[in-house]
């Protein structure tokens, strides 16, 4: 397959996944902002989220305060914000457009139709139905896109690069979702925070990654931070966990393997096995936040290496 084609497929999948996870992060933060325990002051929560998404500076250049409306409009509609859902869906469509001949017509039409709808959405319409309905829509479009991908694409290299993009992005994004939660727990929250507040926070997090029912099923017990972290980091049977994402990254990578990708495959395998054989207690000893930051650095590095090995190779 052409390297450029693989590049577009990889980024098409990454942007779709990013749009979905951005909707998820916004959804959980929006829900938390509505909890009465959080009082009137929701700004630090939004600021924290923007920081973890590395969009704080871009936001502050335009908006003086982190009001819910300002942050949501920035993260959903802003054409100048490379992380906005608008930009992610546009980039998904542009990448799909560049390789539309490689996609099944259903997959191309899905991506095109999603973009056409996003393009026509206005803030007025968004607030009419509430942001929740919009986040739901983004998630469903992403589900549809993934379903159409798996249900119609030939199981060849093209599909591998799409899946590689999906899971590499998901690994990064789930780590960020966990970090958002971590930030919200510590500063300003004393040790005696009401259990009820804590419960809502953790359950909102679980819901944001579609893991609330899963948690109940797996643990059949009350919600504790340690178990939530274990579920989202180490459980390979949890579809959005770091362990599952890395397992998919590694297996798709080995299937597209070429003459120069050995070191990239080794690094992916190493990261995957750490998750497979890791223990959550140990991760908490090292420090949850350090662990997640280090993980995201490695994911970033893998992304660069995949580019060099497959997507934009130097001549010959």
């Amino acid at each position: 397959m052409l390297s450029r084609t693989a590049d577009h497929l990889f980024w098409m999948a990454r942007y779709m996944e990013r749009a979905e996870n951005t909707a998820r992060i916004l959804d959980v933060t929006y829900r938390l902002s509505l909890l009465p325990q959080n009082g009137e002051d929701v700004e630090p929560m939004w600021a924290g989220m923007l920081k973890i998404m590395e969009l704080q500076d871009t936001f502050l250049a335009k908006h003086p305060r982190h009001t819910t409306e300002a942050v949501l409009e920035f993260m959903i509609f802003d054409k100048d914000n490379p992380g906005s859902i608008y930009r992610c869906l546009r980039a998904t469509r542009e990448n799909a457009h560049a390789v539309r001949g490689t996609l099944t017509s259903e997959l191309w039409e899905t991506s095109n139709a999603t973009w056409l709808k996003m393009r026509d959405l206005t803030p007025t319409k968004l607030w009419e139905n509430g942001p929740g309905a919009f986040f739901e829509w983004v998630k469903y479009r992403s589900h549809l896109s993934r379903g159409v991908t798996i249900g119609t694409m030939l199981q060849d290299e093209a599909l591998r690069f799409i899946r590689l993009g999906t899971f590499l992005e998901r690994a990064d994004n789930t780590a960020r979702i966990l970090e958002v939660k971590y930030l919200n727990l510590l500063p300003g929250t004393d040790e005696d925070a009401t259990q009820a507040n804590d419960y809502y926070q953790w359950s909102a997090l679980l819901q944001s990654v579609s893991a609330f029912e899963v948690y109940r099923k797996v643990y059949r017990d009350q919600i504790t931070p340690l178990r939530v972290a274990e579920l989202l980091i180490l459980r390979a049977d949890m579809p959005r966990s770091l362990a599952r994402s890395m397992k998919e990254v590694y297996s798709n990578l080995t299937r597209v393997s070429n003459a120069r990708s050995a070191e990239t495959e080794r690094l992916a395998g190493e990261l995957e096995s750490h998750l497979r054989f890791g223990r959550i207690e140990r991760i908490f000893e090292v420090g949850f936040r350090n662990y997640l930051e280090d993980f995201r650095d490695r994911i970033f590095d893998l992304g660069c290496r995949i580019s060099e090995d497959f997507l934009i190779p130097a001549r010959a």
């Binding site: 397959m1 450029r4 001949g101 191309w108 690069f161 597209v256 070429n258 190779p313 010959a316």
Partner: protein, 472 residues
């Protein structure tokens, strides 16, 4: 307007429906207006969702538009198609022979049938091609010949497009759309299929691979996703199951062309290129080309790769060469031309220029190298001011222009804002030449949607219709 009477494709002069349209006219009559309206809206929505669009030059970059699609087909009876097809095959065969002759012995120039300067000083003549042999001696593997019907119903060739003719994807999509919207019509009519065009194209491309390549790798080369015909490039690559490449995906080493793949370099044997000659190779042609492949011309001249169409075909479809095509047919094939040429005045000749200047309100004046309906004057449809301003361009650069009488293009009933009204149309059938000449029965019918307009180009607001060739 000098012209008052037009040939109507559907109805005869006495108002009766022509026999090949009888079935359709009956159906149209019986079908409730609201169902038709619903179907037309559905067609629009589907074209949008499929993303069957084209980009418009001169508008904000990335602007994509739908080409309006009309649900009343253009129907051609079997007998008419038969003679049209024979005429097209004859014409393209002569044109390919002409290009080969020009780049080899130039017999036709020696015999004095065409002034040598007219060919050799033409900007489309490529000296780089002199003496180069190409597989099967075929240069224009894909030709899109524009044909119109005028006067009492006879066909005229308006233009031979031998460089990178486009539009075939709309021919295929229009058919797909009609079959989806109105399957019952196809049960009632024996419409000749066109869906196998991509197979035929692939077969043609493989047949002209460099000598000695047993299992050639074919690719489609596009200028990129922002090109006006990008949809078609992607569509054809997909339908043929070959890679769609851009210049940056290819490189040349030891006169061999390779593409960059995830598994390393892979050899390329046949390039169906949708990039103009000028931009193909920055080392040989325009140095500023960002969409070409350095070294491509050298590999091509060494016979290691086939370009389709060949470099330098423009020398045969140029408007200044067009008047000589009937002569080519007689010279190379020893046959009388089956299809008519439109009488053409070449403004580089003083007497033709004088005639043109004296008759501007009646004539169509075109740029010799123009395409896409840009930079032309349609006398009868222009205001005095437009004519006078055009006159200045013409007087300043007579060599750049030719003129032709304004043809009374045939028309066909078409859905417009206030119901159904006649609109003018043309037809672009596609002729494939490799080891043999092949055609699918049909072509792209373009229709001028503005009342009275004779310009059918999609860049000028033209639409398309499905084209039915009926089987006898």
């Amino acid at each position: 307007m000098a012209i008052t009477k037009f040939f109507n494709e559907m109805t005869a002069d006495d108002g009766s429906v022509r026999s090949h349209y009888a079935g359709y006219a009956k159906w149209l009559n019986e079908t409730p207006a609201d169902r038709i309206e619903r179907k037309r809206a559905e067609a629009d929505a589907l074209f949008h969702r499929y993303g069957i669009t084209f980009a418009v030059y001169g508008e904000e970059s990335g602007t994509e538009r739908l080409i309006p699609f009309d649900i009343i087909p253009r129907i051609i009876p079997a007998k008419e198609w038969k003679s049209l097809e024979a005429g097209l095959r004859q014409r393209v065969k002569a044109l390919n022979t002409f290009i080969h002759d020009i780049y080899h012995d130039q017999e036709i120039l020696k015999a004095g049938h065409i002034p040598a300067d007219q060919v050799l000083k033409n900007a489309q003549y490529r000296p780089e091609m002199q003496g180069v042999n190409v597989p099967c001696d075929i240069y224009a593997h894909i030709a899109g010949v524009d044909v119109v019907r005028a006067g009492a119903g006879e066909f005229y060739v308006l233009e031979d497009n031998l460089r990178v003719p486009s539009g075939v994807s709309y021919m295929l999509e229009d058919r797909r759309m009609m079959m989806r919207l109105f399957p019952e019509l196809f049960a009632r009519h024996r419409v000749a299929p066109v869906e196998h065009y991509p197979d035929m194209l692939l077969h043609t491309l493989r047949s002209v691979a460099p000598v000695g390549v047993a299992d050639p790798t074919v690719v489609v080369m596009t200028p990129g996703a922002y090109n006006s015909a990008y949809f078609e490039h992607a569509f054809l690559a997909q339908q043929m199951g070959v890679e769609l490449v851009e210049g940056q995906d290819l490189f040349v080493e030891d006169d061999q062309v390779f593409m960059r793949t995830t598994q390393g370099p892979r050899r390329v044997d046949v390039i169906y290129r949708r990039v103009d000659d000028d931009f193909l190779d920055p080392q040989a042609f325009r140095k500023d080309s960002m969409i070409g492949v350095p070294g491509l011309l050298k590999a091509y001249r060494a016979g290691r790769v086939t370009l389709s169409n060949a470099i330098g075909t423009g020398v045969a479809d140029d408007k200044s060469i067009y008047p000589y095509v009937p002569e080519m047919i007689r010279f190379y094939l020893g046959e009388e031309p089956i299809l008519n040429n439109v009488p053409t005045y070449m403004c580089r000749k003083p007497e033709d220029l004088a005639y043109t200047l004296a008759h501007l309100p009646e004539l169509v004046v075109k740029e010799v190298h123009g395409a896409g309906g840009y930079g032309m004057l349609v006398g009868p449809a222009s205001t005095k001011e437009q004519i006078e301003s055009f006159r200045k361009h013409l007087e300043a650069n007579p060599d750049k222009y030719i003129s032709q009488p304004t043809l009374a293009l045939s028309n066909c009933p078409t859905f417009v804002e206030n119901g159904i009204a006649p609109r003018h149309l043309d037809l672009r059938p596609f002729v494939l030449s490799g080891t043999e000449i092949q055609m699918v029965p049909g072509g792209l019918t373009r229709v001028a949607l503005r009342e009275g307009s004779l310009v059918v180009n999609s860049s000028q607001g033209g639409g398309t219709k499905d084209t039915w060739v009926l089987e006898a």
